[in-house]
């Protein structure tokens, strides 16, 4: 077993220690994704069933939607998928530095997507007056896309934990540093992007930049501080790390999840958004 890692290169599509040659984690995630198909199948069915039989007074989707923004989000998510694939590619080559960059990039795009969704939701609620409870379209739409958004958020968190792991010193220990690192990522992502992206979108939509900055100064500052801390942490750790090519399966497992979230969005984008425009 250990001799395996020692030989230096690993066959990433085959694990000779299992009966089928598929690594356990990969199998677990694929089985989970099969299950997740049913989760989203149920949600999408519900949404479409109610689109098929709209009750009177239902919201009119095309009046609510902002297809430019959604197309942009779709593009962003696709690009995050690309970065994710590149991260796996990098770690399979044992390139930890490149892996870190790609992971950060994936998270970054994931957060932009989430920010877009936050903007979309607030926009729909405040400007289009479609809430979770005032029409059945609102109920099904928010629940479906919200569940998807939750998946993205969990994905960002998992990626964050993976990113943190890449710094774990080979000598062991480092619990506190590890935790602070994760905290910084969470704050930087959650606060800054989810404030920043919707804010900037508002600005694009016509709000004055000043207003936005004055409203969101505090979170932006906190986020900026967290980012700075993140970079500092990243640079200050020069010790040998434990993370390496042997962890490719871990990155790949999260990658599977991340891509799945992307393909679900491919379906949602078509079934929930585009078809409404016909």
């Amino acid at each position: 077993m250990s001799s395996h890692a020692a030989t230096g290169s690993i066959d990433h599509h085959h694990d000779s220690t299992t009966s089928t040659g598929i690594p356990n984690k990969k199998l677990l995630w694929w089985a989970f994704l099969a299950s997740d198909c049913m989760f989203f199948g149920t949600l999408i069915s519900t949404h479409l069933v109610y689109r098929l039989n709209p009750p009177p007074g239902n919201a009119v989707p095309t009046q609510v939607f902002n297809i430019e923004l959604t197309s942009f989000s779709t593009f962003i998510l696709l690009m995050s998928s690309l970065l994710m694939a590149l991260a796996v590619n990098a770690i399979q080559k044992g390139n930890v530095r490149s892996t870190r960059t790609m992971l950060l990039g994936t998270m970054f795009f994931g957060c932009i997507f989430l920010g877009g969704q936050v903007f979309e939701f607030t926009h729909f609620v405040h400007d289009k007056h479609m809430t979770l409870s005032n029409s059945i379209f609102g109920s099904t739409f928010y629940t479906l896309t919200g569940t998807h958004g939750t998946h993205v958020a969990i994905g960002v968190l998992l990626l964050g934990m993976m990113y943190v792991r890449t710094f774990k010193p080979a000598a062991g220990g480092g619990l506190l540093a590890n935790f602070l690192h994760l905290l910084a990522i969470c704050i930087a992502a959650a606060v800054a992007f989810i404030v920043l992206v919707p804010g900037l979108l508002e600005v694009i939509e016509g709000e004055a930049l000043g207003t936005f900055l004055s409203h969101s100064a505090v979170p932006l500052l906190v986020g900026a501080a967290a980012c700075a801390a993140l970079i500092w942490f990243g640079r200050s750790s020069t010790a040998a790390v434990e993370f390496g090519e042997k962890n490719a399966i871990d990155v790949e497992a999260i990658g599977l999840y991340w891509h799945f979230v992307d393909i679900v969005w491919i379906i949602i984008f078509t079934a929930v958004y585009l078809l409404e425009y016909l």
Binding site: M1, S2, H4, A5, S16, T17, T18, S19, T20, I22, P23, N24, K25, L27, L28, A31, F32, A34, S35, D36, M38, F39, G41, T42, L43, T46, V49, Y50, N53, P54, P55, P56, G57, N58, L132, S133, S135, I136, G138, S139, T140, T143, M161, K168, P169, A170, A171, G172, G173, G174, L175, N178, F179, L182, E242, K246, I249
Partner: protein, 668 residues
């Protein structure tokens, strides 16, 4: 060879890391006592915990059934109130299905699968412990409502009372404002998480941790059926999980999924529930079919007849099971085409099920049938399940079902498949594998007495219910009038239920007695066929001194008939494994248990989020929000540390005779 060994001695996915662990607790090492049980990752201990809890709930569910039968023993009875009766049948159904039969099956999955496939544990041992404790959380949430019958200051409004399938809109805040319903929703949700996680674990275990030589077509049938069941679970549970989220949102956040005033359609709940609910009944019956497929060959002293087709029909049942859900909805006005389609699809299931029955009979044919107690329950299973299945076919004829739906005929049908089927097989299995896991035999005499009491009591209880149903008695009725022609049938059924109760009591009393006083037994008291009988009773923590190589379908039977060859092979394996560092075992962990505790705190408080927190009548917090958040933080924190601590593990070394040498403290 060496490669194959490395393969099977392997647990979890992590290569051994030399680095120091990152964790706040020292990893627990106690094998006994409270800590030992709470932190265990040993699949056998986890299985026993599942089994112990499940049997308790089986008795509670049975007690609820006895109260139901007591209320119905005479017309216009006032033994319990209408409301309490409704709570009783709701909780009886929910308990028996989610807290008795499902976890009993989970117990056997845990106890048997790793041993039957020649592994030392499941693929993700800590995840397994998590499933167990999450299940306990769900069980607590479901039953917490009962407390308000005993402690009035717990204002949960009693136990839930909307039937085990909780049809909308009865579950909306308008019709059931009680907290009990919120607990029911959350409880089922949590149980779903537990089952999905456990099933993913078993799928990976069965597919990836098989001993060398154990091809899929050599897997014991029980393991096969558990695999199919695990697939059914991960694919069926999402439907109800989402539907329950809808209910939760409707109740608490003003959505309109099932609220007619907002354009919702309550019938959608029925579809989503039964998309889960019908596969669920096969989730309940497929593992029992597995037990029976192990027990019959053992006591017929003959291999299973038509193994491939038995396996294939199990898969077919699972698959077709996803396409028949609306047969529970024949009376909801689906329209002719849909009704016809579901009617025919339902009938189709009789074919693969029949195939199993035929092959079981084929197994008996030409054998040497030894009627020991497990065999009697297994034979009882075939008879009773066949009856239940045939009344299922009567249901599948949709127009006839219009008369039977929601009548006692349905009650009769599903108790025949659930008790005559699932429960009989479980009782057979408990009796069959008891010696393996406790090292003691159950006395034959009392086993047989309990079999006959249960068999007769069961038929006395439920056979008349077919007639009650055909005579127009609706189910879920807390009382009936004396001029309807149902008096005698109910009296008879209730007396039968008492008899059944005595039988069940005898059965478990005998088990308790045997636990302390039963005759000690060796590895293989039944002269059986699969791998679990090749190791000591009770099995050591590491299961196998050496991972076996499987040469045939009934692996242990083959070993018994090829002893020399196997002995040589085994000695080689032990040596090879020792050269690889000894037997690798996973470390125990606190975090699955802590995570589940966080879930309990979070869910319990989430259900009553907006209500004030009071202690002894004094309000201490304006809402439950802080407590709910605390729970979630505990959960997330535990998951974080869990991820960081890694699976780790230690090694056990064996001496020349295969006995463990004081296990080296090489935790890593």
């Amino acid at each position: 060879m060496a490669d194959a060994l490395a393969k099977s001695g392997f647990i979890g996915n992590q290569a051994a890391h030399p680095a120091k662990p990152m964790t706040i607790f020292k990893r627990p090492t106690a094998k006994t006592g409270l800590v030992g049980w709470l932190t265990t990752v040993d699949h056998k201990k986890i299985g026993m915990l599942y089994g112990g809890f499940a049997i308790c709930f089986f008795l509670i569910g049975g007690l609820e059934a006895l109260m139901i039968r007591t209320q119905l023993i005479v017309p216009n009875n006032h033994f319990v109130s209408a409301r309490l009766y409704n709570e009783l049948f709701t909780m009886h159904g929910t308990t028996m299905i989610f807290l008795a039969v499902m976890p009993l099956n989970a117990a056997f999955f845990n106890l048997l699968i790793p041993i039957q496939i020649g592994a030392r544990d499941v693929a993700f041992p800590r995840l397994n412990s998590f499933s167990l404790w999450v299940w306990v959380v769900g069980a607590i949430l479901l039953n917490v409502g009962w407390l308000s019958h005993f402690v009035p200051s717990w204002k949960f409004g009693g136990a839930p009372a909307m039937g085990w399938f909780g049809y909308a809109p009865l579950t909306s805040k308008q019709f059931t404002p009680e907290l009990a319903t919120d607990f029911w929703v959350l409880g089922l949700q949590v149980l779903g998480v537990s089952s999905i996680v456990a099933s993913l674990n078993f799928i990976v275990t069965i597919i990836n941790l098989r001993a060398p030589g154990l091809t899929m077509m050599r897997l014991p049938v029980f393991t096969w059926m558990s695999l199919v069941t695990s697939f059914l679970l991960i694919l069926a549970l999402p439907a109800i999980a989402i539907a329950l989220i809808f209910v939760m949102f409707d109740r608490n956040f003003g959505t309109n999924f099932f609220e007619v005033s907002g354009g919702g359609q309550p019938i959608l709940w029925q579809h989503l529930f039964w998309v889960f609910g019908h596969p669920e009944v096969y989730i309940l019956i497929l593992p029992p079919m597995g037990y029976v497929s192990e027990i019959l060959p053992t006591f017929s002293r003959k291999p299973l007849f038509g193994y491939p087709i038995v396996v294939f029909s199990g898969v077919a049942i699972g698959f077709i099971g996803f396409g028949v859900w609306s047969h529970h909805m024949f009376t909801t006005g689906l329209g002719t085409v849909a009704t016809a389609a579901f009617s025919l699809a339902t009938m189709a299931i009789a074919v693969p099920t029949g195939v199993k029955i035929f092959n079981w009979i084929g197994t008996l044919w030409g054998g040497r049938i030894v009627t020991r107690v497990p065999m009697m329950f297994a034979l009882g299973f075939i008879w009773m399940f066949m009856m239940g299945g045939l009344s299922g076919i009567m249901h599948s004829a949709a127009p006839a079902d219009a008369q039977q739906q929601d009548s006692y005929f349905v009650i009769a049908h599903f108790h025949y498949v659930l008790i005559g089927g699932a429960t009989f097989a479980l009782l057979a299995a408990i009796h069959f594998w008891f010696p393996k896991f406790f090292g003691r035999m159950v006395p034959e005499f009392w086993g047989k007495v309990s079999f006959w009491l249960i068999f007769v009591g069961f038929n006395c209880t439920f056979f008349p219910m077919h007639f009650l149903g055909l005579n127009g008695m609706p189910r879920r009725t807390w009382t009936y009038d004396s001029n309807m022609g149902w008096n005698e049938g109910n009296l008879f059924a209730s007396c039968g239920a008492y008899l059944l109760g005595i039988g069940i009591f005898t059965y478990f009393a005998v088990l308790v007695y045997s636990f302390f006083k039963g005759k000690l037994c060796g590895n293989d008291p039944w002269d059986a066929r699969t791998l679990e009988w090749s190791i000591p009773s009770p099995p050591p923590e590491y299961n196998f001194t050496a991972i076996p190589t499987v040469h045939a379908r009934d692996a242990w039977w083959y070993e018994k008939t090829h002893q020399e060859e196997i002995a040589k092979e085994k000695a080689e394996h032990i040596k090879a494994e020792e050269a690889h560092g000894g037997i690798h075992m996973p470390d125990q962990s606190w975090f699955p248990f802590i995570a589940a505790s966080g879930l309990l705190i979070g869910a319990y408080n989430f259900a009553q989020l907006r209500l004030p927190v009071t202690i002894l009548g004094n309000q201490v917090l304006a809402t439950h929000v802080p407590l709910a958040i605390t729970g979630v933080c505990i959960l997330l924190g535990a998951c974080y540390f869990w991820a960081l601590e890694g699976p780790a593990g230690y090694h056990i070394h064996l001496d020349a005779n295969g006995n463990p040498i004081e296990s080296e403290a090489s935790h890593h």
